[in-house]
Amino acid sequence: MLKVTPLNRVHRALGARMVDFGGWDMPVQYAGVIEEHLATRAAAGLFDVSHMGEVEVSGANALDYIQYLTINDAARLVDGQVQYNAICYPDGGVVDDVTVYRFSATHYLFCVNASNTDKDFAWMEKVLAERDFGNVVLRNRSDEFAQLALQGPLAEEILARLTTVDLGAIRYYHFKAGEVAGSETIISRTGYTGEDGFELYCAAADAEKVWHALMTAGADDSLMPIGLGARDTLRLEMKYALYGHELSERITPLEAGLGWITKLDKGDFIGGAALRKQKEAGVPRTLVALRITESGIPRADYPLFCGEREVGVVTSGTMSPSLRCGIGLGLVASDCAAIGTQLTVGIRKKRVAAQIVKPPFIDK
């Protein structure tokens, strides 16, 4: 039995094509992936991302626990700020990549990947049980929240019609609590598209009301509902990692280009020793951005070659709706990972030329 979000009825009424996404019945497209992608870049798009999980961490020692659990330095957060972060295993493999919201010094919310929610929560409980952190309380609140993402250059203008919160005062990776269309909402200036925009957390029971209010408020600005298909192409054009592709229990954050969130000198944390060792030795593999220079589309698991030598594998790939050419991300041997390197992708029986380019793929 597939899990459904509070907006399932809305998607079906809109005629969305529904797919099983990690056990969730989710819309993959409404009008079409390319049209939805371009609408998000040009105007605005509305996404149902209620499948994402939310885990609350609270208590006097919440920060000590989060510092040990995660790889980024959560002590740098101030109230109302969001941090991109990751949870690792002792060997440096990734449990999940997450965003951490700080409400106060003793109250945090983790937004986690949908299909990892149960795994993450079990891991977080295990870590909490194995050490005496003092006063820390974990709550899996995933079922309480709906989450909508409003993304695109017109996102702020559209959202401003439904709230009295001063949106201009919410900087990137910051949030405020306030009402949207009369419903209590966490308004977060974050996203997974590379566009300006917001992720809105409201009560599951309010999801339909907020969705319809947003669609109405944006009707004159060509606001469109966007499915998971375009969510994937939008994030790929930005080289944003997707768990299960660029990150996994067998890929470390250093290999995946997340050295910038891996704070090796912040003190003891799970995976720290393994990651420090890998940093010193040099990462064996590096995540690169690939642009196909011939005709063809790279896809996950296609092999990558440098000359005759097989040097790695594509982790995600698509036709870029913005560039109208094949793009992909791949993990390659670090000695072949320099920007400008010419590789080939094994696509069925052919070798198709590709170049390692500086991300993101589009100007942002």
Binding site: V33, I297, R299, M319
Partner: protein, 127 residues
Amino acid sequence: MEFPDELQYTEDHEWVLVEDDSVTVGITDFAQDALGDVVFVELPDVGEMVELGKPFGVVESVKAVSDIYAPVSGEVIEINAALTDEPEVVNSSPYEDAWMIKIKPSNPEEFNDLLSVDEYRALTEED
């Protein structure tokens, strides 16, 4: 959804136009709709042999790669090279502009296994 009466069909959602000495092949309206935006088409070269039920080419949507299967065995005598530059025609004109290959059939008995329009329509309604 449109399924022209004069065509025959396969369970893999190809359409087939049987003429005197050639068989024209493409994918159906049902197939293009299920794929979504088609962004890449790969076809065999003229002169290659194709075999009943075996893949002869590939269509890719933004999200997925799908094989196209030969409805009959024979030699490829013509391909629609325009689809390489304009794969989106598969969505807009699956039965006309987006014909894919013409085959010189080697075994006319294989025609007996093709589906009529009514049989194919029934199949799409099951899915």
